[in-house]
Subunit: 256 residues, 2 copies
Amino acid sequence: MISVVILGAGNVATHLFKAFDKAENITVIQWYNRNLDSLNQYINSVDITDDLNNLKEADVYILAVSDDAIGNLSSELPFENRLVVHTSGSVGVYDLDKKHKRGVLYPLQTFSKNVKIDFANVPICIETIDKKNYPLLKKLTKSIGSPIKRVNSDQRKVLHLAAVFVNNFTNQLYRIGHEITESEGAEFDLLKPLIVETAKKIIDTSPFMAQTGPAKRNDKKTIKKHLKLLENNQQHKAIYELLTTSIQRTHGTKKL
Amino acid sequence: MISVVILGAGNVATHLFKAFDKAENITVIQWYNRNLDSLNQYINSVDITDDLNNLKEADVYILAVSDDAIGNLSSELPFENRLVVHTSGSVGVYDLDKKHKRGVLYPLQTFSKNVKIDFANVPICIETIDKKNYPLLKKLTKSIGSPIKRVNSDQRKVLHLAAVFVNNFTNQLYRIGHEITESEGAEFDLLKPLIVETAKKIIDTSPFMAQTGPAKRNDKKTIKKHLKLLENNQQHKAIYELLTTSIQRTHGTKKL
């Protein structure tokens, strides 16, 4: 049985609590947050506290707090030589106080407060400074059904950066699609099957092979028509031009 | 029974042929292409021809050819006053020769040669100049199980433009994610569940509500780290900056 203390009360903390709470080989012995309000609804399932001096002894302490809070919180923990991990994609493992055994458990997925998460669809990137601590984190992660990948800090940082491209930026392209269609009273809903299909295609096909459209074909007539439609929104136009150039560089079609 | 002649042999033509061929109330009486090579494999299922003068009389002629070929091909058809439609998102309905009854049947989906298409997931946008011809196109489209939407040319054109954003440009962001992860020997595959989840989220949540991440939070520290990681690729950096600004304008976080 692996004993866990969770620190933090955001989306990642909450989803991890629910997953660990259901897992057979894990017991969440305590949940800490500096403000108890967000934890009160779990008072019957787990011991909750807002006092670091009350923290129980556990096999792993999981700091699922905002990036800026990780370093300080790890220093304020009133013990040493125990395994302390954070869950951030962009914070280094050395940002944790060196009095601890240190590691990272980075779930590579988008979490929403009210959307159930199946951890079988959440790859978890694991890192430990001392390799002796790796098996415990691996066992912990395996218990919730997640695919596990050992990564170093540099790899984790580029994964986090790439996640911004494929998640936040992609979502903004959906938003622009929404704005463009609504400007003519067309229905954004009509694009949803295309959006889902575009994402699913990537499972079996590389993004390079999957590319289609006027930029790749260097179809100047269509590109010109599109730029004309975007005349009243210079920012959308700039995004269209930049991504068209990017596709053409990738596919070597710029000078056709 | 609706009789159909298909003209063209690309992905859209082929997928439409297969769908119509299976549909109960439709008979594809002929398939034309200027080059018979691509049609020879269907010689046992349908009458094929490369001669416009041999075209049979049908209820609908579907011009599933490249955008540039639509106007000329419609003029070369050796008959008039029959229903002729094209399948393009960006070509006007008036680009068809005026000797015909004219319409558009625009399937809003990405088609790949070897990937099966379920037309239940392909919204089809229909337009006719004369509303008398609308019911026939509607019946035809309904027979293959597609959701149907009547749109005008302006709406169809912005749908096509928006499709470039949510399909081609999104796919290029996947490509950039691929390049970024590989640059550090990290696995692009780890991002696939995130890619699929990001797309699926849109089905129930508006892209505005679904947005997360450093740009929306105006998390300057993380943005700075990311820009540093992109220092060696000015184009990826420019895309990062432009889409970050776009998110911040959408969410009013620019001046926090």
